[in-house]
Assembly symmetry: T
């Protein structure tokens, strides 16, 4: 099983970026923990980070060709991107949206998630842990589907 993890814009600045909101953990450290858990769960992961909306769509389309599930943090594109939403709908594998912070408890304009409309589920507010839980979730989901399909 292959899971694609996609970090959206500005995730590369984690650790320095508004630490009172996003914590002091770096993206490299999150990736490390994700890879450890993937190894533990016996799944492959491919992780990438993109500041460009178009590059995120490319990554989703690529995942649609060679992966079994997506864990995506669309960052600032979460709230408005119909194009990422459409890409997630266009591929036939499930996706879970993650957020480091609890977007429902921040500014009004962060409450809406356009991209979550095209995801199976959403996990937010738990920092790096959000990614780990999402990985567990997507693996459980793909396994359940595989079980149902066999």
């Amino acid at each position: 099983m292959m899971v694609v993890v996609i970090h959206g814009p500005n995730m590369n600045l984690l650790g320095v970026r508004e630490p009172d909101v996003y914590g002091t953990v770096t993206m490299a450290r999150i990736d490390e923990r994700v890879e450890e858990l993937a190894a533990e769960l016996g799944v492959e992961v491919r992780i990438s980070q993109h500041n460009s909306e178009g590059a995120i769509i490319d990554a989703i389309q690529q995942a649609g060709c060679d992966a079994d599930g997506i864990v995506i943090n669309p960052g600032g594109y979460t709230h408005t991107s119909v194009a990422i939403h459409d890409a997630l709908k266009a591929v036939s594998i499930p996706a879970i949206e993650v957020h480091l912070s609890n977007i429902l408890a921040r500014e009004e304009w962060r409450h809406r998630s356009m991209t979550a409309l095209a995801c199976v589920g959403v996990i937010g507010g738990l920092g790096a842990e959000s990614y780990l839980l999402a990985l567990r979730g997507i693996v459980a989901l793909v396994e359940a589907d595989a079980g149902a399909g066999s």
Copy 2:
């Protein structure tokens, strides 16, 4: 460590209730899986289900006295209940909100969560798995806080 799991209104009907939305797993089965995972993680859980908003507030207040964290599915009260929101704010332990379905991808009026404003994080859309991930999340959170405080 003690974690309180609170099921909101109509959760007792799971399995029969709109199975295309909520799946066919029963609440009893979810509780079983939550208890298994709790045992595995070495934490205690207390689970209850309430149809009344007031009873949910009572349960939260009780948890504030004798527990370390809350996993709550406020059900239909999610979207409007300022009183449950206030109860969650009033106690000094962290809470994670869970939903079986992805509320951000359903009817417009289910998108807003009043109660999530008072939670650390939200996990939704993954069925029974949402509860398990939330339990893992709250345990990680309480342990991290304990670590930070020691």
Copy 3:
């Protein structure tokens, strides 16, 4: 055939309560007329009144177990209660919502009915008569369904 009639909050004050809006008929008198009509139509009725949202949900869940149809006046909970809405959706028997007054012709915030979204139909504005027509309606509905199913 068994029909459950559920009166929402403050219905027990009918007759004294804002008589220019709700008329001078008491709840007891409405219940009497409902029972007379039920006898005439050859159906059984179980009538209850609740001030608590949770108790109304309990009553709906109970009806789901042993009745064929519901006539419900959710009173003040009509406009906001997702939990009652969910309960009505969760049970597999049909419900008709009734109102003594014409909620569409009163204050702006009474125009929306969250609970009606989960009902087959709505009858409002005709005072005690609303209940009688709803009883006739639900009986016709259940009979038609039974006919269709046989």
Copy 4:
């Protein structure tokens, strides 16, 4: 006693028109049942159908001259027609609005009823039965008024 029944636009297509929404009963069959019930209740009915908003207003004005009550299904004009609303207010006899479908459970823009603001009550969601209940309702209403006035 004379009751005027007014069918709004497209009601003449009932039976063929979106049967999953409006059912397969034809307008002719509804009229038949209305006339049977009228006979049973000992009242006269005059039934007409109009696609034009102006013709509906004419029919309401006519009813104001020679009838005792109105049962009206304003169809698509329900949601926006101030002119029909004004006509219903202008005549001194009571009206009950009916709908075959439950407008409160359909598209957002069907939730508001401009014309119901000028009616005594509203009955919706019960198909042809809506008309029969409305006829019973208006007869009860007129009789009660007559009783009060005598």
Copy 5:
């Protein structure tokens, strides 16, 4: 100079229609006073009343062919009719909108005038007097235009 006066829906019921809102003057009496003033001002008037939106559009189009100005009370169509608005824009003669009542001081949904967007001016709240002032206004306007053009 020829001025066309167009009464919208339900104006034919004036005098009987909600007298506390619209007064007790009949449409016939208003027409009489309009004709007297027209004679006094030396202009011709053509007055008509229509319940149908289409007929009002016909009347406006006709006025565009053979008249110099329009005084129009669009009644209930005021608030929503883009079609009447378009007709008023389509003809090259000026129009003044009149209302018996002060629409800005009534229900919220009467505050907007779609048709006034296509008129030179609006006069409201002064009962029959609104029509007389509008006639004076349109005559002054046409005379001023004629003077400017000569």
Copy 6:
């Protein structure tokens, strides 16, 4: 009979001020025409202009003491001033609101008139003529009231 005419802010700049919107007539010329018509109608007028909201309220309160009616152009205060609205409601004489331009056909935020809610009627869009028609209107109104009261 005494009628008070109140010009709101910036009216003193008429003639120079955005002539494509407000025309080239000066306030002095409007006052002259108002005085001529007053003489013709046999009524007294007191005219003043104020840039300050408080001064307009003073003028209304003064009118309430010694005049029979008010013609007021609240200018830019029209759309938001609850205080002028309250002053107009507080005095027991009728007022007509006038506007040089047709506020319903200009920017969205000019469509609402807070002050018109407290006036008998509104006349707008006819330039200086608006004032003359309003004077005629208020005189007719006061005379009718006097007639009714005698």
Copy 7:
């Protein structure tokens, strides 16, 4: 194959009506071009124009009986008419909505199309050309459906 072309209100004034918005082509010239193209494509057309909403509904219902597709320009009724929307839904043949101007680039209140909700597609902004393209479109659509059905 028979295609019905329905012109909405004020279309009969094309050429004179706001030429900067709608161009100088007359309705007669559009009809001529539509008929030429119909001949070229080997389909029959029936063209009519109506100022009345009810008459447009009649025309749609007639088309439902004897035609294969509809090209409709609902004019001012586009933005609010639920009744025309319902008529288009009620008949089982496809419709394409056309507009001479680009309604999405004009006043805010022209952006919404209630009637387009019931059409297969919309073509706007291309003047008379809009009708020709719509005719081509509806013919292609009907042919494709016929092909699929054979």
Copy 8:
């Protein structure tokens, strides 16, 4: 004279609950001060606290039977509860709403008070003092009414 004081949900946690918002005074201490003032003013008080909306309605209905006035802090139910609003309207004694904090200066969704619509007055922002002033207010009110009625 008997005054009923009703504390809404979570008031029992005062002192521990978000002390920067609600202060450090406990509910017991507020009750003590209320009772002292009641004694000073020579009136009887009955104080209760409820987490359940239904229980608050019960308490209001009870007050309607045996008390002269109500001081109510509906807590989190303030902003949405039509049912409490209806209960306050249903009883014939006056009520004053109190809040410890100034709800108009907190989160947007706390600005609206559904329950205040059914109260004579509102006092907020003054902590425990709010209750004392409300008690003084309700006593003055009842005495004035008694004076007026005698």
Copy 9:
């Protein structure tokens, strides 16, 4: 201790002004009662009334220099005045807002208080009593602050 009491626009008309809304007590009588209570409480008061927004700001700024607290009824400026709001924020003494009527139970546009955002608390709906309670409240507040500071 010195408390400044500021009456907003139209308060000078109390007694004559819409007595069904504001009662028949005059401003002079309110001032008398305020002064009596001030004497009783051993504090000094300075009372003024202003129709002008600017004058109210001047009075607040003056209070900021020589007083300990403010009781203010901003009247019609309550709902929109950012400038008064800013003045109240700019001075370092506490203010309580008062209203004779219950603004939350009147017209929709009176529900919002821009000025209350800058006050410690709000008291409304209790007529002249509102002022007396506010005076008590501000005195208690200043004394508590003084106690805390000593």
Copy 10:
């Protein structure tokens, strides 16, 4: 004559992507048909597809340098992209917006087109046919402009 055809994000997935919404035709097949029609009409076409908003802007700017017209399907960027809107406005050649599906009949948030505000016209809902009609439309438009200019 050169026409640039720009496909927005996810168009490269056509055929596999949500076939019930977008059909089973691939982008390659659409391009083929567009090229065939271009040949038939004697015009040159340059077709490209881009997932990135910036790349679409580049393509529009390039078209502004060397083409005569644009046919653009902005995909998910349609609803929010001010930057594409600005690019279309910045170049001096006309553009027609196309959509495979009828965006006015889908989710609420797809109804608005920010980019259509900068286009001459819009064609939607006709699948691949939308592109062919748009090509015909843009050619007719450019030819008409050329004719007008010669």
Copy 11:
């Protein structure tokens, strides 16, 4: 060249007023710096501060008579004052609006500027520097216009 600088309400309290928002610089110090820069740029300045909306309008009208440009900080009147907006439009000299704080990054209700609609440009968020930049800007603007006009 003469530039008029107008400080709105509460600007006289700068330095004491909410220093965390507005800084500790006094208005006197800002004026000093503005005058120094004016001297450096060789232009004359006239500076005034007003708490009253009417006085600000007077100052704008005066500037319209004898100055070449306006630098205005409308303070709390920024967000609602149509009257100041109209005054700025009424005079024929350009104005630049300044704010000490960045109004677009503060409370929602400070985001809109009614007065900026009538200004050439806006400068905000840079404290006293905002005024200096605005002075430079208005001087550059007037010089450019003079150059263009010569």
Copy 12:
């Protein structure tokens, strides 16, 4: 000191692009003037232009590593880009937003600036001059911070 100047999408078309809105100055000329002023002020500048949102985020992140301040014109991304907003927040150097036109005086949907929420200040409406003033502003800001920090 190093200041980074970032031009958003379509800025490369300045001079040709809608000259009535944006003027005839080219981007090259603006850059020249910015560089001249930078030299005069003794600061270094790095200027770039990007059509892609991702590239702008890259440029901001780069500036965060090696510059002291940012002057940014986010162009069409201003109104919706949470991602650019987040990038500006993520870096620890101050930014000033500039616009050639006065966005607050253009289309409604240009009034909101999502990116300005993350900037110290905003300067708009002064054409090329906006950039020069912003450069002066950011230099003053950085110098003040440096002074405060030393």
